[in-house]
């Protein structure tokens, strides 16, 4: 008893001693006297306030210490189990298999992918041993296999090795990357450009670098998958306008502005996101109108030129050259060196501010190794060739015209693509009797809901049937020595189902005669496969 009393006394003594040291130390801190006086007087005036403040402090500390992961045990949906029950639940749980085995259809799809043996080009050799006319691979300007490019790539390989072995921030920025960025900027006429090491990963990184939660993005309903993923990551408020419909765009811009004024919301960043030539159907955006609208409503324009760069314009500079719009009017111009320059990677061109911002905020730029030097120099060389040889682009356009001349008039084929587009999408045109009658009630000119990605009157089509027929056409064409491909899409993952099509990629490397021959083969294949069904 006495011992416990003694220890208590000791404890009290210790407490009082530590209190005094604390007090003296506290008063040594300059300005502490003021604080103490303030606390004392406030307590005198209003003891309730002291209590309130103490509670506040405790609350603040608790919030700070709280675990930040979601779904912790304090949630109201949490059910308490004891260890044995958990063991049983663990025992019971059977997960789904990691991957569903492929269906026979999917297996056939995978097996039908043509394999090129040796170099790709206008007339590659396939694994079957056949040499075919290639209207499937992207090689618009025929730069694939160019001897000058090969020579400079080999030269670069010997000086730089292959890989860059580091992200751009950590000694992965080589002088060749700086030079290609400069080349792209000069070629397009922008202040600067930034190089990403995969074209597909470019725009899905550019959009979230600028668009944050609360910002507004007005996007075309027909944008490609990469843009869709960029929009998803950005967490912006997205409004949709009808595919390539400038009136619909203006209407949506108007609504957004009205809405903002009504809610008296603060000014946020606003972007229009669309493609130059659409990956999904080859339609071409009306760039002058886009620029006019973006200026009128004070939006910034993010334009994906992955298909149009290196395929339209006098020297292949893309839509800006075709429409004679200065590239500086487009705030973020995204393009592909892989498609347009037959090398690898993608880029975003714009002002210094736009580009430098991405050097820190472009996720797939910062966290990825920079492009191999040899491929970078190959792209630089490609720009050089395009700049000096305008005849390439005129040949390409002639070839496109030749192909279109044959296919435009063909039965069973609808072409939604722009006449100048080097990618030509061929959809099945059903003979009128079999056409599902949806066009009649679309006459109501009520605009689509901008909040939903689905248009008001979505076109009706049977994906499975059309894909199967198109695949038959692809194989029929292949047996006739022409390699074409279906435009492959991830069904179920795209926001709007894209109408199945065969996508031709016309190249300047083929002669006009070959192009005509190939187009005739495709036309005949359509007639054979679709015509047979009648």
């Amino acid at each position: 008893m006495s011992s416990s009393l003694q220890s208590l006394e000791l404890l009290l003594a210790f407490l009082s001693r530590s209190y005094t040291t604390l007090e003296t130390n506290f008063y040594k801190i300059p300005g502490s006297a003021v604080v103490a006086r303030y606390v004392k007087s406030s307590h005198q005036n209003d003891p309730g306030r002291t209590l309130l403040e103490v509670i506040l402090i405790i609350f603040a500390i608790r919030t700070l210490l709280q675990s930040r992961t979601r779904g912790d045990q304090s949630g109201k949906h949490f059910i308490q189990f004891d260890e044995k029950e958990i063991d049983e639940l663990v025992e019971e749980w059977t997960p789904e298999p990691l991957a569903q085995p492929l269906t026979p259809q999917e297996q056939a799809d995978l097996a039908s992918v043509p394999v090129i043996v040796g170099p790709t080009g206008p007339k590659p050799k396939l694994a079957s041993g056949k040499t075919v006319i290639n209207l499937a691979s992207y090689n618009f300007t025929g730069l694939a296999g160019n001897e000058e490019i090969k020579a400079s790539a080999v030269d670069t390989l010997r000086k730089y090795g292959l890989g860059s072995c580091g992200p751009p921030g950590f000694y992965g920025t080589q002088d060749v990357h700086i030079r290609l960025e400069q080349d792209i900027a000069d070629f397009l006429g922008t202040e600067a450009a930034i190089l990403y090491s995969q074209a597909f990963a470019t725009i899905s990184s550019v959009i979230p670098a600028f668009g944050k939660r609360g910002d507004v993005i007005v996007a075309d309903r027909g944008v490609n998958f990469a843009i869709q993923k960029g929009l998803q990551i950005s967490r912006c408020t997205v409004r949709w306008y009808d595919h390539n419909d400038m009136e619909s765009l203006e209407h949506v811009l108007e609504t957004v502005e009205k809405e903002r004024k009504k809610r008296r919301a603060p000014l946020t960043r606003r972007f229009i996101v669309t493609e130059g030539i659409f990956d999904n159907d080859g339609a071409m955006a009306d760039l002058p109108k886009l620029v006019e609208l973006k200026k009128k409503y004070k939006y910034r324009l993010i334009l994906d030129e992955s298909i149009s760069f290196g395929s339209v314009g006098r020297t292949g500079r893309g839509l800006t050259e075709l429409y004679n719009v200065p590239a500086s009017e487009v705030d973020m111009l995204v393009g592909s060196c892989a498609t347009g320059l037959a090398s690898a990677g993608g880029f975003c061109a714009g002002s210094h501010i736009v580009v430098n911002h991405q050097r820190i905020n472009g996720t797939s730029f910062v966290f990825s190794a920079s492009m191999p030097a040899a491929l970078t120099v190959a792209a630089s060389e490609g720009i050089n060739i395009l700049r000096n040889t305008p005849s390439i682009l005129s040949t390409l356009q002639e070839n496109i015209r030749a192909v279109r001349a044959i296919l435009d008039r063909a039965d069973y084929i609808t072409i939604p693509s722009h006449p100048a587009s080097a990618t030509i999408h061929l959809q099945i045109r059903w003979p009128t009797l079999q056409l599902p009658m949806h066009a009649s009630h679309s006459s109501s000119n009520k605009p689509s809901n901008p909040l939903s990605v689905k248009p008001r009157d979505p076109p009706q089509f049977d994906v499975e049937l059309e894909e199967r027929l198109l695949q038959d056409i692809v194989e029929e064409a292949l047996s006739q020595g022409v390699m074409v491909t279906r435009a492959k899409r991830l069904r179920g993952q795209e926001l709007v189902e894209v109408r199945p099509s065969i996508r031709l990629a016309v190249t300047a490397a083929l002669s006009r005669k070959d192009c005509e021959k190939a187009a005739s083969v495709v036309k005949a294949a359509f007639a054979k496969v679709v015509g047979r069904r009648r």
Partner: protein, 683 residues
């Protein structure tokens, strides 16, 4: 040997100085430099002889820049090379030693003692070196220095916005446009990172091998713009992800790539499913599967995109991803795209993981309490900022009990860990087929680019159909594919047809036509198997060192030695470092943000310049700013000595040696290197 100061010892060396140096260089005044010149010329002649097919118009050894390889550059290079031992060895090789590599790319090291095998000792639990906390005054001053810089930054913003409006225009609403990046979002970049921007994104040229050529630059406006001086500095490169030293402009891999460029060009022409599949893709995929010891594999043209495009094909709504808190940005990106739920556990804390597993399995999906469709645990094999390894033995046990699927991101560990370079599964002796998804990149160990996913055939085929890569992303280009094939074959060794005629033909068959190919492969050979010659492109030049696998073994054993030596050496010096002893990634803790810049500059401006990577928030927690060394098989023991000496000096100046425990002087560490490395426990 008398060593003169490096001509460009400082970053902002004016142009005139280098001209002066160039003139004096032509004289070859001292006897030592003459001798050096002779030995250099010898080495050069040898290299040229071995790489006879090289078309390079410049001497193979002078790594001068692309555009102009004028004699001026060569002189500049050689003048510098003679003194610092970076381009040519300080001691010329004896007549019995023949080195076929370029010393500046892949160092000459003939001493067989400086070799080691990276392997987890069976039967012992895996433990990383315990993380040590610095003294409290370090933490306190670190916080204070952040506070100081942040306050100062806000003050400057406040004043600047009022008096120098033009500079802030892009941060403020203007003419009806909202600011492109709000000043709040960019505050960290503008006010903290900009101060030390000279340590980031340094432009380089040439091979990022053992040494790297920096393009010097300076700034007159506090790092807002960087002006190139036009001069170059060769520096010891302990920063690039070049674990096995395959970043080479010469040698068998580069020869193979050259042949492939001449044959294939540089383009593959589109996405894999739309006319962008070459025979090389199938050969590379079959080889990757064989290398990893799995049924099948797929490759993608970008490492980051491998994760971000493939994870959405694996999991979706109703699935749960359990992710280590320090997982790479690409994993988070992919998981976000997939729409699956995410939970995180404390880095490498297996108890936390088990607690979490018990919780999520028993609770099921939030609100509905339905059971999860599947649970995918994602960890990295080797964490690139920590140097720690995933605790695979324990995870495998948990996997058996809790039935989750395991995704191991081996971006840094593949090639770099394990006695055969097969990554963490090899290091721990775990069957690679028991891990569901093995992901990795070719950027780091293989000196290429892009990434792969290896696993069961059913899973890989599903990912080919359902991941984003094959449908939408451009396929890998032929030069990169060839580098992958050549470097991988080099590590594996090659079985020539005469030795093993029966097992090979199936591989050459195309995957689409035969499913047996993959199966036959996994049955016929135990991991690690060699690459049958028929699995390689027939036109590929094969060198003897590739065929017998000696090149690969040499690289692996040198990397293992270097990693262990630097890890333990730094600890013996008293530095706080993180990670596993065998990790080729060595983070050294600096704590103070201010020390990052000073450390980097002091290393770069030494007599033998060393380039280092400094990282801080947001890549690391706020207080644990660090410098990260990435070792390579191309480094020689002397290179590590140089790094240790440099760290010793700089660490003394910056008060970095904060770890408790016994310390050795740097010279003792250097002389007892072999003993330090071979000891099972650190002496």
């Amino acid at each position: 040997m008398p060593s003169r100061p490096s001509p460009i010892a400082f970053q902002s060396a004016p142009l005139t100085q280098s001209i002066f140096k160039k003139k004096s260089a032509s004289g070859l005044s001292t006897a030592a430099s003459y001798l050096n010149a002779v030995s250099a010329a010898d080495a050069r002649a040898r290299t040229r002889g071995s790489a006879a097919s090289s078309t390079a118009s410049t001497p193979a050894l002078s790594m001068s820049s692309s555009a102009t390889s004028s004699s001026e550059d060569t002189v500049l290079d050689e003048r510098q090379d003679f003194t610092d031992g970076l381009s040519y060895p300080r001691t010329p090789p004896t007549s019995s030693q023949v080195f076929t590599t370029v010393h500046s790319e892949f160092g000459h090291c003939g001493n067989e003692d400086y070799r080691y095998t990276s392997r987890h000792r069976a039967g012992t639990p895996y433990e990383s070196y315990p993380e040590q906390d610095p003294p409290y005054y370090i933490l306190l001053t670190t916080y204070i220095s952040y506070l100081l810089v942040i306050c100062l930054g806000h003050l400057r913003d406040f004043v600047g916005k009022r008096f120098r409006h033009v500079n802030y225009r892009h941060l403020l609403p203007w003419n009806g446009y909202a600011a492109l990046n709000s000043d709040f979002d960019s505050f960290y970049t503008r006010r903290l990172k900009l101060r030390i921007d000279d340590c980031f994104s340094h432009p380089v040229t040439g091979v990022p091998g053992r040494t790297i050529m920096l393009l010097d630059r300076y700034s007159t406006d506090y790092n807002k713009t960087m002006i190139p001086t036009g001069t170059r500095t060769r520096a010891l490169n302990i920063s690039s992800y070049n674990y096995l030293g395959f970043a080479q402009g010469n040698g068998p891999c580069a020869d193979a790539v050259e042949t492939s460029i001449e044959r294939y060009g540089v383009s593959s022409g589109g996405t894999r499913l739309e006319g962008g599949t070459l025979d090389l893709h199938q050969q590379a995929e079959a080889l990757v599967a064989r290398f990893m010891g799995t049924e099948d594999a797929l490759i993608s043209s970008m490492g980051f995109a491998t994760n971000s495009n493939i994870i959405p094909g694996l999991v979706n709504k109703g699935c749960l991803v359990i992710s280590d808190e320090l997982n790479h940005a690409s994993i988070r990106y992919g998981v976000r795209l997939s729409g699956a739920n995410v939970r995180m556990f404390k880095h490498n804390d297996m108890q936390a993981l088990e607690r979490l597993l018990r919780e999520v399995i028993s609770q099921g999906q939030p609100k509905t309490h339905r059971p999860w469709k599947k649970i995918l645990v994602i960890v990295e094999g080797l964490f690139s900022m920590e140097g720690t390894l995933a605790n695979l033995p324990v995870i495998m046990e948990l996997k058996k009990k809790y039935k989750f699927y395991l995704f191991v991101d081996e971006a840094h560990s593949v090639g770099a860990m394990g006695p055969n370079g097969r990554g963490v599964t090899d290091y721990f002796g775990v069957d690679p087929n028991s891990v569901d998804i093995l992901m990795g990149t070719f950027t780091k160990s293989f000196g290429a680019a892009g990434g792969y996913i290896a696993g069961k055939k059913a899973v890989i085929d599903r990912l080919r159909i359902q991941g984003h890569s094959f449908t939408y992303a451009e396929s890998m280009t032929p030069p990169v594919l060839t580098q992958v094939i050549a470097s991988m074959a080099s590590i594996m060794g090659i079985t020539m047809p005469a030795e093993k005629p029966h097992s090979s033909p199936s591989l050459a068959l195309l995957r689409s036509s035969s499913n047996e190919a993959a199966l036959a492969m996994s049955e016929a050979d135990v991991v690690p198997g060699t690459a049958p010659a028929s699995a390689l492109p027939s036109w590929m030049p094969l060198s003897p060192v590739m065929i017998d696998g000696s090149d690969g073994r040499h690289r692996l054993s040198r990397l293992a030695f270097n990693a262990r030596y630097l890890n333990r050496g730094l600890r013996k010096l008293g530095f706080i470092t993180y990670g596993n002893d065998d990790s080729p990634v060595v983070p050294l803790l600096l704590f103070h943000p201010g020390k990052m810049a000073v450390f980097s500059r002091m290393m770069r401006t030494r007599q033998i310049p060393i380039v280092v990577v400094v990282v801080a928030y947001p890549a690391t927690p706020l207080v644990t700013s660090r410098v990260r060394f990435c070792l390579s098989a191309s480094h020689t023991k002397e290179d590590i000595d140089i790094v240790l000496r440099a760290c010793d000096e700089v660490g003394e100046v910056l008060d970095l040696k904060q770890a408790p425990g016994e310390r050795w002087p740097v010279e003792e560490i250097i002389s007892r290197a072999v003993e330090i490395v071979r000891a099972p426990k650190m002496p």
